[in-house]
Symmetry: C2
Subunit: 289 residues, 2 copies
């Protein structure tokens, strides 16, 4: 059996790099073969899992500089029955890729909006007068370089290798501690996917809406976890899309859903939430830089 | 004296529409003349106020469908001494603007990523096979239309009028209750700016970091407000940009900073926060649709 892994394409995106690491990890540690399947958007890669066109999806959740990836959490809330199997943390080193021989000839730089945002100080210092143009992905931006040496793109060194393009400047991200966390997502009940249990501590991710916008509406659910001594490692609010000022909350907790304190907390949480979705408990794997 | 109002340009963006409403409101209600000053990014329009190159900036904070505008809150945290004077709520109606005579001839649609995201269902149904290309603003997208009738752009009807371009489809946003909240920002101590006090209730916006990622680190600050019966109307977490898993929290509260309960809460809040920045109290004005 060969598993299919959906990801944001084309080949050379950071999502593909994380998916490729996971593919090798599955092979080396679990003896499972897998193939990569690029999709034009993050939403489509998650929908492919929901529609059973792919077995797994590797999707970005959060970057240490630019924050949450709205498309991922919004789609996860909308689709039913998806589960998080694993988190992957990828160190990000951005490069300026171009056929130009010096920075002076570059007039336009393309990248995914997150890539442009994560290099804005470097761009302001070394390329203050260029046009910055957003693209659908870092790898898509590379396909525009062609033979035009007035154009540059911001992407990974893996992408430069894949498309056989020269790197003009490396490590151009404004903050050295730049990394992106990905989730490996499956259907809740897919029996072909091995449930991975590693030694390091597991996290649980869930999301909920609250019934009304009253004082303490968010405090009550958070107190439930604080009272059990469970640390919240992340909270993100997202609009319900019904009206301005109504939110969903996405929360990561430093405990396994099977732990007795979490069982107690999750039972109590039902009293303070409107809709509650638990996306599963999982380990975190760091991808070597 | 004529005040200058910085906003994301070029003319025809939703930010310019909100700034234009505010300009007229200043004239009609306060007898103050103002002029608009477009900037290529939201960050630059805020920096113009910080550097005293502009008196005010009108910047988007949050859309009811796509959520928070990271650039705005991140820049507000980084720059010192900026204050929120007023919130403006603008109803958003997206249009497909094109010189094409029918949808069939359109091959490419340009817009700001938020514009593309807010119309994704409509695009999937009526233009399933077109290329969707992000642009720096909705108005910038219009400048690409030229005479090419295979291209469309998503922007406001005001923008279509400004650039004298035809609207091919109107109200194409997926959710009818689509609106964007803007903030009017000034230097904290600018004596030329009238401090506005309207009849409707005021809100207070602030942001803080917490000392350590311990259980309850976020619950404690939120409890301070719940105990005083102050409702939290919004919470957004943003990365500190130091390391993955460290956050700042941006909070909107339904109370004036001068109210006694808020004075009590703000004093106590210092015990549970690392850095605390209060951006001011302000009224909310709704812009007619």
């Amino acid at each position: 059996m060969t598993l299919s892994i959906a990801h944001l394409g084309p080949p050379g995106t950071y999502a593909e790099q994380a998916a490729f690491f996971y593919l090798n990890w599955l092979k080396n540690h679990q003896g499972i073969e897998a193939g990569l399947q690029p999709y034009p958007t993050i939403a489509q890669s998650l929908q492919a899992v929901a529609n059973q066109k792919a077995d797994l999806a590797v999707v970005p959740v959060e970057n240490s500089i630019e924050g949450g990836v709205s498309m991922t959490v919004d789609t996860l809330w909308q689709l039913d029955n998806l589960r998080i199997q694993l988190a992957l943390v990828l160190p990000i080193t951005h490069n300026l890729i171009s056929c130009a021989t010096s920075l002076k000839s570059i007039q336009t730089v393309y990248s995914h909006p997150q890539g442009l945002a994560q290099c804005q100080k470097w761009l302001g210092e070394f390329l203050p007068n260029v046009n910055l143009i957003p693209a659908n992905s870092t790898a898509e931006a590379l396909q525009l370089l062609a033979q035009d040496d007035t154009i540059g793109a911001i992407a990974s060194s893996r992408a430069a290798n894949l498309y056989d393009l020269p790197i003009l400047a490396t490590g151009i991200n404004d903050y050295p501690e730049n990394c992106t966390r990905f989730w490996v997502i499956t259907q809740g009940d897919n029996p072909d996917i091995p449930h991975l249990f590693l030694d390091n501590p597991r996290r649980t991710s869930l999301a909920f809406s609250v019934a009304a916008n009253i004082p303490g509406a968010l405090v009550q659910p958070l107190q439930v976890f604080a009272q059990q001594g469970i640390n919240l490692s992340r909270i993100e609010s997202r609009p319900t899309k019904r009206s301005l000022g109504e939110y969903l909350f996405f929360i990561d907790l430093e405990a396994d859903a099977d732990a007795p304190v979490m069982q107690t907390a999750l039972t109590e949480l039902n009293n303070f939430t409107e809709i509650l979705k638990i996306f599963g408990s999982y380990n975190i794997l760091s991808i070597p830089g």
